[in-house]
Every structure is written in C-alpha cells, then in structure tokens.
Symmetry: C2
C-alpha cells in the first residue's frame, strides 16, 4: 500500500500531538485508513524544535510555502492559526491540488466561503473537525450523523478556558478576576486571554456550527459576541438558588425568518446534562426535529485530543481521496449548489428568557412598579427571588426570571426599570435558555 504523504505546517502543541499520535497508533490507523498516513515533511519557523520532535524521520523546512507546492505531498495539515499567512498557505495548497486539514476556526469562520469554493473547484477536501470542540466529532455528527433532521438549534460549551473559569467561580465563590489569574497560572488561560474570555473563539466555532447546521455561508461578522468578563459571583449564586447554572454558550438557532447566531453567558437549568459539564470540558447539544436532543461531550483542547480530530480528518481524506469529488461529503454538509441565504438575524430580533438582577430600595411598591413595566412590554415572569435585607440595610437585590421574550422588549423593559427612582444603578441582565 502506497502511503499517503502529509505535510505538516506548525509543530507546536497540536502539531506535536499529531506527530506523536500518528506514530504511536500507526498500525491501527493504517488498518482503518487502508494506507499508511505518513508525515513526510514539516514546516516550522522553529526548525530545531521540529528536528527534536520528529527525530530525523521527516524532512524539515522553515519555508511553509515550499511545502504547499511540494509534489510529493498529498495532504497539507495547517496548524499555525490566524488569518494571514495561514490563509495564503491554505489557498496555495488548494491551488496546487492538495487536500487540506486544519484546526483553524478563525480562518474558516472568516474566510471559509472563499476557501471552500476554491476547494470545490479544484476537487479537493478541506476538513476541519479539529476547529470545533477539539476531539469531539461534532462536525461529523452534524454534517453526516444528523442529516435526516431539520436542526432546530445547537448550543455548546465550546471554549474550555471560559468553562474552567465559570466552574471555578461557582465552586469556590470567587470573582472573575481572581479565577482568571489562577487559570493563567495553571495554563488553562493564555497570557492574553482576550479571544477566550471575550467570546471570540466560541463565536468562531459557533459560526461554523451554524453554517453546517443550516447550509448558510460562514458569517462571523454577523455573530453576536459577548464574553464572561462582566459576570459576578453573586449572579452565579443567585442563579444556583433558582436551579440554574451560568455557562458561556455558542448558540445557533433556526427561526422562521432567519438564524440566530450568538455567544453570551446563559442561564441553563441545572438538571440538564450540559449544565453539569465542568472544568475545561466541552459539550454541544443539538436538537433535531426527528432525533430530539442529542449531546456530544469531550475534551475541547489540548495536544492529543485535538490531534485526535486532525487525524480523523486525515483518515477520512485517505479513505475518500479517490472518490468522485461530486460524491464526497460536502464541506458544509449541504451541497455547494444548494446553500441557503437564510439571513443571520439582528440581535434585536432574537428571543430568550432573561435573568434580571435589580438593586432596589427596600420599600413598598417597588416590585409592583417593576412587574407593571414587564407586563406592559408583554414579558411574563417565571420566577422571582428577593434577598432579605440585612439588619439596617436600606437596599436589597431582587432577581427576576422571565419567560421567553424578544431582545428588544427586554432592553426596553430594562431601560424603564432603571429609570425608576427606587432602582439603584444598572439592572444586570443575563439571557436564559431552557435547552429543551
């Protein structure tokens, strides 16, 4: 059996993991793929590191652009990340007729349409299981496992760093800042954690999920992105008392007139399986009209879990490399000529439940005013919690959970509540999903 030759670009954490796993499990992987899968060349700026990892068993270069035109290479694995050089490399690899496997969610969420179109024209595959939820085969589940279904929604814990932080805040009652510092010390958060904690990474992944679920082009620029930096320990505690947990969810939801695509902290019922996904673990829940609710859980990051997804893609490409390009699995689950132009809805039109925390003067009539405002906006109340004020304290917290209403109604109500004299400061609002 002639080996399939892989050119690996970037031999950092995931690249190193890919090398290690491919070598350790070579025998089994070959038995599954039908041909040996061999990394024959590696491009990395750190040539010395590449030499160390590969121990002289692969050609090493610091010129990735040479690799993508190397006639010996069948598949390029791109693991350097980012939009710049990575895009040029992927586009050139495609132009040279090479299949591409990538973990680069940012690249695909922004330039996916251009990349997939080019790949389609050249008859090559671009596989990206590793781009969403690490080792969990969620792309495959959505693109192939649930093809019978009209996907109603998908909601996922798809960023391990923020889930670790939220789990720790809840467990230990600590503030966001304290836990972030701890997470950085433990290596669960990067020195510059912006992409994670501001929700950008999750939004890249949610963009890809939405595309595959609904057959729409990738539209990262239309995603609503809100991170966890403003979450307070008290909100996590109040949510808990009401039977909810707060998770950073990436959500894609089908509505009659479009698709909701959003990332934000979300209250979810504590009894849902996904509410119990703790630490750096990832999970995605998908609701299909036929299958009902399904859940996929596993490690969303790390060298070997991500390598597991990269190599699964390599096996897929190897198994199907000789197939008629018109009869492979389409990149975005739907055939390229059957994509939908269902729009991403503006945030004002999305619908969720709401958690509202109000700081109020402890006097009669406040609650009546607040509930009147909500009723006037057509917002009905699902649950309420009023903290008993401490001895001599003149103010207290009121927590209100609302049923589903539109974002615009919620914002209008919040503005009016904040204008009440008895309400102090801003109302804290967190969206709520029942995930049923």
């Amino acid at each position: 059996m002639k080996p399939i030759n892989v050119g690996l670009i970037g031999i950092g954490t995931v690249g190193g993991g890919t090398w290690t796993v491919l070598k350790r499990n070579a025998e089994e992987i070959t038995r599954r793929a039908g041909r040996p899968i061999r990394i024959t060349a590696v491009a990395d700026r750190n040539v010395e590191l590449a030499r160390q990892v590969t121990g002289g068993e692969a050609r090493i270069t610091d010129d990735a652009f040479a690799l993508v035109k190397d006639p010996e290479i069948d598949i390029i694995v791109e693991l350097i990340g980012g939009y710049g050089v990575a895009k040029d490399l992927v586009m050139q690899a495609i132009a040279n007729g090479k299949h591409v496997v990538t973990a680069n969610k940012a690249l695909l969420a922004v330039h996916g349409t251009e990349i997939f179109t080019a790949a389609q024209q050249k008859g090559v595959m671009v596989a990206f299981e590793a781009a969403v939820a690490g080792g969990i085969p969620i792309i495959k589940a959505l693109r192939e496992g649930l093809t019978a279904n009209r996907i109603e929604w998908a909601a996922g814990i798809i960023n391990g760093t923020t889930n670790f932080i939220l789990s720790e805040m809840r467990d230990k009652g600590l503030s966001f800042a304290d836990v972030l510092a701890e997470a950085q010390r433990l290596g669960y958060a990067e020195a510059d954690p912006t992409f994670d904690i501001e929700g950008v990474d999750a939004a890249h992944k949610a963009t890809l999920i939405a595309s595959i679920a609904y057959g729409i082009p990738v539209q990262f620029d239309k995603a609503y992105v809100e991170g966890i930096t403003k979450l307070e320990a008290s909100d996590i505690k109040y949510a808990e008392q009401l039977g909810y947990r707060i998770k950073l969810l990436g959500i894609a939801k089908r509505r009659d007139n479009g698709v909701e695509l959003r990332v934000h902290p979300t209250l979810i019922p504590a009894k849902r399986l996904i509410a119990n996904v703790e630490g750096a673990m990832n999970a995605v829940v998908v609701k299909g009209d036929a299958v009902g609710t399904t859940l996929y859980y596993g490690k969303g990051a790390g060298a070997e879990p991500t390598a597991s997804a990269v190599i699964a893609d390599l096996v897929d490409v190897t198994r199907l490399a000789t197939a008629d390009p018109e009869h492979r699995v389409p990149h975005l689950a739907f055939q390229p000529d059957a994509m939908s132009n269902l729009p991403i809805l503006p945030m004002s039109e999305i619908e969720t439940g709401n958690y509202l925390r109000l700081r109020v003067e402890d006097k009669a009539g406040v609650l009546a005013d607040v509930t009147r405002i909500l009723a006037d906006q057509g917002i009905s109340i699902d649950a309420m919690l009023q903290r008993e004020p401490e001895e001599g304290e003149g103010e207290t917290d009121i927590i209100i959970l609302t049923h589903v209403c539109s974002e615009s109604a919620a914002l209008a109500a919040v503005a009016k509540v904040e204008a009440l004299a008895a309400v102090k400061g801003q109302v804290k609002r967190i969206r709520l999903e029942e995930l049923q």
Copy 2:
C-alpha cells in the same frame, strides 16, 4: 438530479417514522445528499397499513423477496428484525448489488461477518447506524470520528427499557417487578420484555461496538449477558449512599491479551455524566488513548429518533454510492483485510471492582473474617457501609466496595464468605466500573 430509489421492507414503527421524516424533510435532505432520496416501493405483510402510511405515493407489495430483486431499487432498508427472513432478504439484496441499510442489531451481531463479507465482495454498503443507540450517531463516531485512537474501552447505556426501569426503581424506591409492570403499561417495555430485561438487546449492540472499536469479527456468542431482573431496590439505595448509581452497561474493553465483552448491571460513580442519564435515554462513553473520554447522548429508540439514523445512512450511501468500493468507509471501521483475531476473553479473566452485600449476624469478629478472606484473594477494599441493626434485630447488612480484581478472585472470595457461619444466605455481588 436522478433520485436514488429506496425499497423499504417493514413499515411498522421505525419504517413509518422513516417514511414520515424522509417526506417532511425532503427538501433539506436532498440539499445535503445531492440527490432526492425516494422510497419508491414498500414491502409489508400488512398491505393495508402500508397503503395508509404512504397514501398511494409508493408501490406496495407483500412480497419482500420481489423487492430485493427489483431492478429499479438502489438501496434496501430492512426494518423487520430477527435472524430468519431478514437474513435471507439482506443476503439476496446484496447478491443483487443493492446497498442495504438496516436497524437489525440481532442479525448483524450474529451473522454480521457473513453479511459484511458478501457486501464487500459485491462492492455494496451495509449501513447500520440505527442498530446501536437509535438516533445517536455512535457508529459513525467510533468508525470515523475516533479513528486516531487506540480505543481503551466503550461503555454504554444502550437499552432504554432497562434504563427506564432502573431510573424508576431509584426515583420511587420500587421493586423491579412493580416498575416493569408500570413500564409495560406505559409502553416503555414490551409484553414479552425478555430481550430487554435479560440484557440480550444490549449485548447485540455491545457486540457491534466491540467489533468496530477493535476490528474484530462480530461474536455475540462470546458475550457475557446478565440482565437486571435480580436487582433489588435495597442495592440501588445502598449504592446511592456510597455515591454510585446502578446502570445496565454494555462494555467493550481492550486488555493486553484480548477483549472484554459483557453486559451486566454496574455501579458507576454518581458524579459521572453518564450516571445522570435517566429514563429511556441512551448514552455511550468512549475512552480513546488520544482523545480521552467522550460521551454521546440521545434517544435510543422510537420512530423518529431511529428513523434519523436510518436516513443518515441513506444520505451516506447516496453521497458515497459512486465511490470506488475500495475507498469507502469500511463496514467495521477497519479494512476487511486488516481485521484482528484478538480473542474475546472468558468471563473468568475480566477485571472489575465489586459491590458486595452480605447479610450477617450482628456479632463481633464477622467483619474480620470477611476482610481476611478478601485479603487472602488479593482483593483490596475501597469502601464499606454497615447498616445499624434495628432494635432487637439479630442480623444486619454489610456493604463492601472492592478495588479492581479478577472475576475469578471475586467469585472465590464470595464462595468463602458465604461459607462463613455468621453470613446468612447468598452474597449479592454487582460489578463496579469507575469509567475514568
């Protein structure tokens, strides 16, 4: 686009669901598959029912054997179950060059090797996602999503009836017999529930999981099968007090010298996600050496969830129908010429933790004798619980959890403990898995 023509054999619950979903979601499914997928003919003994369901939109026959040689049909969907007629139909469909989609776990667990070999020779696909865990794409996850991994073990709640019964026994503290009667009333258990409650159905599915995980031929006859009929409410309660839940698991585990393949009630830590899978839901946990622990959860039965898997297979077959047969996804994940002869281990060689419940005289020295026996067999104790005897009661229960030991050591220890004069009746033993 020329439609792909499907012949449906059996239009009962799942067949009816397949018809309904394929029709309801025809537009989306076509956009995914690249061609319309059309059930053009249905074979069922109940011709009248078939007419009602299809409303005149498909040819109806009571002669399934005519269908499998119908030159217009590209794919046969077999949904009648059982080993007899179903086997003949599947084999004839293959001989006639038709792809086959089936939900028939019993057939494949027993005759899979013969069927897959014939399919391989004819260059057709036999797809069976619906045979294991209903709508959960677990076959695809194992066969394609986790191909990078050496699978260490897979353990699943893969029978909804028994999970419903166990959930109800725990929730309501009821006996097995009472809950079974309730489950039959509610339609969660069949009039003759033997296949479910004795673990046979789960063992069929576990057999298929083991084959795909390890590239070994299906060997249902070597599976150890133990159902839930002897479970008592008190054991569920004691397990709970020790932080465990009891689930009926189908387990495939790799050991150096072979594969463990077994179905039996199992204590698992209550904090594991899978321990919280309640009611008729299914879930499978897979541990790979690279990816770590992943979990797949959803509905394991029912018309539309199972139809979801049947149709996913139809889409797969449609997408890959023109591919070179040598370069499709292999039926059992490994290439047919690369199967392993790793044996299924005899039960005496398997290793698990143990839950032991002893009825003992309430007097000094009993515990010392018991722990001595365990130590002599090399079995170490992980936890112990002694029920306080009621006033005037001369006997009490001792519960012991052991660390992992061999089945033969556990059985030898139990025999010796039962021979103690102070130990009354039989020792109740339930196996325990940490699932880590």
